[in-house]
Amino acid sequence: MITIYTAHMRKAVLTQFQYRAANYFYMIGMIAEPVVYLVVWSTIARANGGSIDGLTPGGFAAYYIVWTLVRNMNIVLTPFAWEERIKEGSLASQLMKPMHPIHQDISEFMGWKVVVLLLWLPIAAALVALFRPTLSPTVLQCVVFFFAIWGAYLIRAIMQWSLGLVTFWTTRVSAIFEAYILAEMLLSGRVFPLVLMPKWFQTLTWYFPFRWSFSFPIVALTGPIENRDLFIGLGMQVAWIVFSIGLMWMVWPRAVRRFSSVGG
């Protein structure tokens, strides 16, 4: 299992490193989004006498720069990919392999992350120079952060993988996926730090996976966060990983049955 994972990862590293320009295009497009939010919120913080809900412009800068790293960790197989796999039949060859096909997707994207992280470093340095974040995490926060970004990756990878399986039942998937992605945007802390939202909204986010794959790793590093909440967060991540694996185990065999029936 580990050998196969490292093999897929190495393959992805080598492939993706060939496409540095393409990867940079992708990342610059992605970086525009947090910069917009960052500018909007720092403008408001300044107009508001220096901070809102405890966040200063430096605090927002820290939030959104860590955001860029977490967002990169969040890149997984898009649910839209299933349409092509089913239509073009590339799934058939994957089904022949003895291993569950999710392993190949997870390991390949993990390999890509290595390239992405390398390319991300200069961008992060530029953002730090431009926006001057205030960031002073403890050692524990750094350690938790390291695990939390991989937890976030697993939650999102498995959830979106399972979601993509809807394609086996209907071809009108994009409305469903878009709804899921929009819910994620609002409930994850991607558009605004959740601390800006009213209490009921913050409570609501506990019941969705989004917060744990996005806001939690960021806040784990930027704070303010109690040590207790660091461990609760990791626990919630484990719970969501278990939940998403369960979901996948339930849906996948049924989805494959439909595939074979269509393929004849």
């Binding site: 393409a22 295009f25 497009g29 525009a32 500018v39 431009l130 994009s174």
Partner: protein, 270 residues
């Protein structure tokens, strides 16, 4: 490649009309997509409205823009995005793919001007739902504005909007032309979509380096902010002059890029 003697009768306008009609007829076969697209447009705008509500729960104005004025910007942003995704983006993405797969020959061997032809082949008609929703949001914003817009504002808005479309088209054409040099640039779409989001807010709120980038590198300021300024009565006339001049320059530069790229394509396939 260009042979004026065999140029189709009626010229570019008729050719565009024909392609547009075929495109619309194609899309009309999938009528249910209208409702699916409409739902998507409404969801996207709904998210934007939530964000705007959160922003204005914390402040009275953002960089000198009031709530109805920012709502107008959001309307224009949605409208412009809809036009780009209906007419510009599908064609330019097809160029990128055709270059990679070597299928651009099919367009180049036709007697019409190659730039015209690759710019009108596709139309994603149902994306116009974004235009509908955008106009709706803009109308609501204009009703809330006090004082409301005068006819000069609206006329200026329409002219600047058209000019903005042209500048975005030129920008996309230059991006697509880049595919003659770089092999894999499917990511240009991601790049454009990402940067385009910055247009949700007036460029004036961004720090200087970014403001210039969003004006002269990616002409978002011209496509969204300036028309929004026109319709909300905030427009300075010197920015109109800069905008029109810049758009004309872009037209020439993008055509030059396209021609340069084509020369390279010929070299690669032979």
């Amino acid at each position: 490649m260009r042979d004026t003697a065999r140029e189709p009768r009626g010229g570019p306008v008729r050719l565009t009309g024909t392609f547009l009609r075929v495109g619309v007829m194609n899309e009309m076969q999938y009528r249910i997509n209208f409702f699916l697209q409409l739902v998507q447009s409404l969801m996207t705008v709904g998210t934007g409205l939530v964000v705007l509500a959160v922003v204005f729960s914390k402040t009275k104005d953002l960089g000198g823009w009031s709530r109805p004025q920012l709502l107008a910007v959001m309307g224009v942003f949605t409208l412009v995005g809809g036009v780009i995704r209906t007419f510009i983006q599908p064609n330019m993405e097809r160029v990128v793919n055709d270059v990679r797969e070597g299928k651009l020959d099919f367009a180049l061997t036709k007697p019409a001007d190659s730039q015209l032809l690759v710019s009108i082949r596709d139309v994603r008609f149902w994306q116009l739902t974004d235009v509908l929703v955008g106009v709706g949001v803009l109308t609501v914003a204009l009703v809330q504005l006090d004082p409301g817009p005068r006819w000069q504002n609206l006329a200026g808005f329409v002219v600047l909007l058209l000019s903005g479309f042209i500048s975005i088209y030129c920008f996309w054409l230059m991006l697509a032309s880049a595919s003659f040099w770089l092999v894999r640039i499917n990511e240009v779409q991601e790049l454009f979509d990402g940067l385009f989001r910055a247009g949700q807010y007036p460029v004036g709120i961004y720090p200087g380096w970014l403001r210039y980038g969003l004006t002269f590198i990616i002409p978002l300021a011209f496509a969204i902010t300036v028309p929004s300024e026109a319709v909300t009565g905030r427009l300075a006339w010197d920015s109109v002059a800069v905008m029109i001049g810049f758009t004309i320059v872009l037209l020439f530069v993008s055509r030059w890029c396209w021609k340069r790229g084509l020369r390279r394509y010929g070299g690669a396939s032979s």
